[in-house]
């Protein structure tokens, strides 16, 4: 009897262990299908005779577009229009790369691989060379909007053997709009409290930030404020302070005839000397190197200057948090945009490609399915698609009124804001950024963003476009693929600059910079610089 019980226990333990192992080994089933199968209902543009095709689509947080239960009206409409049945495969912002790496290695990638921003990087070329992703058709004339988008310089630059391998996730109509994705927000009411006028010189800025940190600008009677708080260390070099020339991470032609990452240049050294001085004076938030709540700090009234994106959409994010954390303080009376000090009166805009991140397509996607996917994207890129994703169904949720969007959705009495579209149609939550960052594209006309915010951002955008220099960033240079360049992808220039700012060895700036350059070169930077420069010369990109 005793032996039997022991055996029974053993069998139970083993069953449990193997069940756990099998559970661990089973294929991930993080999928939801909500769009109904079935042909055209006669209302859409779809061809009712076509067979419905199943498409798996993967994107950051796409699970929110497919919450389960009955699909919403827009989900049904899209499904009927293109005769497709979309199945979501969710990835998060933190695990997308790891998931894709694993799925690529095990041949389990979904049809649409959406949560990825690796154009020009090692993985981009590896996926193409290894046949993980398929090329787009040569003839895209059946998809007029896509056809137009694929003519952008920053898309053409990344063709491989004359083929396009991705659809860009369009952020702006052109790259100049990125000018507002870096900037400084300042507490102008605190400046008034302290009797400080608009800063101009580097010393003015240092004095201002130190005053914010030490002179009780909020009249609280306690030492509870900091000067400048950056939303990330990266923003300090990435044109957050644009008066020092181009100091961002893109490869640019320098005066010595070599192409190198601008972040390693002497211009960046000059910028960092200023930041270091501010840090040593106590004007820069002493926790800046490890901080991850800069926005909260500013919105809660604990920081005098916030270095962050200042476009319409991003200002609204600040406002949204502000009204929660400081409901008694008027945002518009308290905040304005600063431009930072300038060495010679000139400012250089932040720039990026007109798109950020891309959609790739599994090599196993056949031509029929690819056709449907392209139809879907062509519509999502179009004005009609974008308006539907942003504001819902025309006539029901919005109407055009004298060339402007007029929302018809309910208004929340407490906040004065319209019901978000994704609340009415969950499908639009992530689908609104599958083909394009629709929220960014329409942010200067989006009625869901308060007029005061839009005016503030539009005015500054106009100023920057008219007066600030565009950096000389050549996308064809960025697309150069040489092994030496891929091998230094892990270098952490930003980290090294943080160490420069916080250095306590007493060495002078030039010595520290030379040590940093020597270390970068020892880790392969100079080899990469020479390889990229030679390749650019061979391709006729430079003389």
């Amino acid at each position: 009897m005793k032996v039997r019980i022991k055996w029974l226990q053993l069998v139970l333990v083993f069953s449990l262990v193997f069940a756990l192992i099998l559970t661990g080994c089973q294929t991930s089933d993080d999928t939801t299908t909500t769009a109904p199968a079935g042909g055209d209902n006669g209302d859409g543009n779809g061809d009712g005779d076509r067979e419905t095709i199943d498409i798996t689509v993967s994107l950051w947080d796409i699970e929110y577009s497919f919450p389960g239960g009955d699909p919403d009206e827009i989900a049904v409409m899209v499904s009927d229009m293109f005769d497709i049945n979309l199945t979501s495969i969710n990835v998060g912002w933190g695990d997308a790369d790891e998931k894709y790496n694993t799925w690529a290695a095990s041949g389990q990638l979904p049809d649409i691989i959406g949560a990825i921003a690796h154009v020009g990087q090692g993985r981009y070329f590896q996926w193409i060379n290894d046949g993980v992703v398929r090329a787009l058709p040569d003839d895209l004339s059946a998809y007029p909007v896509i056809n137009q988008i694929m003519q952008q310089d920053e898309v053409l630059a990344f063709q491989v053997d004359g083929n396009n391998y991705f659809l860009p996730r369009q952020t702006y109509e052109d790259s100049s709009w990125w000018a507002m994705d870096r900037g400084l927000l300042v507490r102008k009411d605190w400046m008034e409290n302290l009797g400080i006028s608009d800063p101009v010189t580097e010393q003015d800025y240092i004095d201002l930030t130190v005053a914010f940190a030490t002179q009780d600008p909020n009249n609280s009677g306690s030492n509870d404020t900091v000067g400048l708080v950056p939303s990330g260390v990266w923003i300090l070099t990435s044109q957050g302070l644009p008066g020092f020339g181009y100091t961002d991470g893109r490869w640019v032609l320098e005066d010595d005839g070599y192409i190198r990452p601008a972040i390693t240049s002497e211009r960046t050294l000059r910028l960092m000397e200023f930041v270091k001085e501010m840090y040593q004076a106590g004007g820069l938030d002493p926790d800046f190197a490890t901080l991850d709540n800069a926005l909260e700090k500013f919105a809660a009234g604990q920081a005098g200057i916030l270095a962050r994106q200042v476009s319409s959409k991003h200002l609204k994010a600040v406002l949204d948090m502000w009204v929660t954390l400081q409901p008694d303080v008027d945002f518009f009376e308290s905040v304005s945009i600063l431009r930072g000090p300038s060495l010679d009166g000139e400012y250089t805009r932040f720039t990026e490609m007109a798109y950020w991140s891309e959609s790739y397509f599994n090599a196993n996607v056949e031509d029929d399915k690819m056709g449907r996917i392209l139809e879907l994207y062509d519509w999502l890129y179009s004005d009609e698609g974008m308006r539907t994703m942003m504001w819902g169904i025309e006539g029901t949720d919005w109407e055009m009124d004298d060339g402007e969007i007029n929302l018809l959705t309910d208004v929340n009495e407490e906040t004065g804001l319209h019901t978000p579209t994704a609340e009415i149609y969950p499908f639009t939550y992530a689908m609104s950024y599958l083909a394009a960052w629709t929220g960014d594209l329409v942010q200067y006309i989006d009625p869901a963003i308060p007029q005061g915010i839009r005016d503030m951002a539009s005015e500054e955008l106009d100023h920057r476009l008219a007066n600030w220099q565009a950096p000389d960033v050549d996308w064809a240079v960025q697309a150069i693929n040489v092994p030496e360049k891929q091998e230094i992808a892990g270098l952490t220039y930003g980290d090294d600059w943080v160490r420069f700012i916080m250095d306590s060895s007493g060495k002078d700036s030039q010595t520290l910079y030379e040590e940093m350059v020597a270390n970068w070169n020892a880790n392969g930077l100079q080899d990469a610089v020479e390889a990229v420069t030679n390749a650019a010369r061979e391709q006729g990109l430079i003389d």
Binding site: F14, A105, Q121, G122, D130, P286, A289, T492
Partner: protein, 325 residues
């Protein structure tokens, strides 16, 4: 004469085999209990090493390809090892890994032993259980949560600096972003101890539980005090376990807690606490994807770890202590 000399070893071998078999039969339940662990190691450690499809460890010597079968991959020899060795960053991370490892051996390794002995000296059962639960609980928190708490406590405007500046009148110190070896290593050791010391002490508590209580009774009758009981009974009884764990720890010299360090590393302390695992992640996965490079780094690490394990085992053997094999 010659006949007896050949038969004797054969008989001896047969006798030894039957003794081993008898032992196996006697301990069959214990052996069966080890099977799941064996299965785990076979599935997750040995099978990937000898996987025919991916090439296993041979991947380190070939150019990885995502779609073609392993046999069609190009041989690249020692390319990925050289790529790793020629970077100063790699040697910095090696130095950090070894330093952290020795510091952990010196300061972290003995602490679970002390805790187990201390807990053993608590005679009130309820109090003992409470202490044990309190010390063990942090093990179940993820590093991301622990480091989030650490950030709140240790940042310049955090609780600890607030206490130091307002109550003690000391200057604030940036515990999370500084270039001091002492401060960084102390942070690693203390946080790891707070999280893991209770869990680590369980194995020693189990060893102590196996000590014959009559030994203590006899010692007390002979007039031994608590300290003498610990020194002459408890410690000798758990020493064997400690030596085995020490050997295993030495064999893990290049595995120094990826989660903890990955979440604590930043621009200022990277050159001090970035370990080989974080370095591999940075170059092989974070910026680009290079499985062959990762395989080469992993193989290099395993060879060093294995050599260290063998060396530690040999030293233990020479000193007459317990050893693994």
């Amino acid at each position: 004469m010659q006949k007896t000399s050949t038969i004797a070893p054969a008989l001896k071998q047969k006798h030894s085999l039957s003794r081993t078999w008898r032992k196996c039969v006697e301990n069959k339940y214990l052996l069966i209990m080890t099977l799941p662990v064996l299965v785990y190691y076979i599935i997750f450690n040995y099978m990937p090493m000898f996987n025919v499809q991916t090439g296993g460890i041979l991947m380190a010597f070939k150019q990885h390809n995502l779609t073609r079968p392993f046999v069609e991959w190009d041989w690249v020899g020692m390319h990925y090892f050289q790529m790793m060795w020629r970077r100063p960053d790699f040697w910095i991370s090696m130095r950090n890994t070894v330093s952290i490892s020795f510091i952990r051996l010196a300061f972290e390794f003995p602490m679970p032993i002390f805790l187990a002995i201390l807990l053993n000296e608590v005679h009130r059962r309820k109090a003992k259980r409470i202490f044990q639960t309190v010390y063990t609980f942090p093990h179940f928190l993820s590093w991301i949560l622990v480091i989030g708490l650490m950030k709140d406590l240790l940042q310049i405007n955090g609780v600890i600096n607030g206490f130091m500046t307002t109550v003690l009148g000391r200057q604030a110190f940036n515990y999370l972003a500084n270039d001091s070896f002492f401060a960084n290593y102390a942070m690693l050791v203390i946080s790891n101890l707070l999280k893991g010391v209770g869990w680590g002490s369980i194995i020693y508590l189990a060893a102590i539980a196996g000590v014959d209580p009559t030994l203590y009774e006899a010692a007390i009758v002979d007039g031994a005090n608590r300290w003498q009981c610990i020194r002459h009974i408890t410690w000798p009884c758990i020493k064997a376990t400690a030596v085995i764990l020490l050997i295993l720890q030495v064999g893990n010299i290049l595995n120094q807690g990826f989660d903890q360090i990955f979440n604590l590393v930043n621009g200022v302390n990277r050159n001090i606490i970035e370990t080989i695992d974080v370095y591999i992640y940075r170059y092989a996965f974070q910026q680009s994807m290079n499985q062959s490079f990762a395989a080469a780094s992993g193989l290099f690490k395993s060879v060093i770890n294995f050599s260290m394990l063998i060396t530690a085992n040999l030293i233990a053997k020479k000193l007459g202590e317990n050893n693994l094999f």
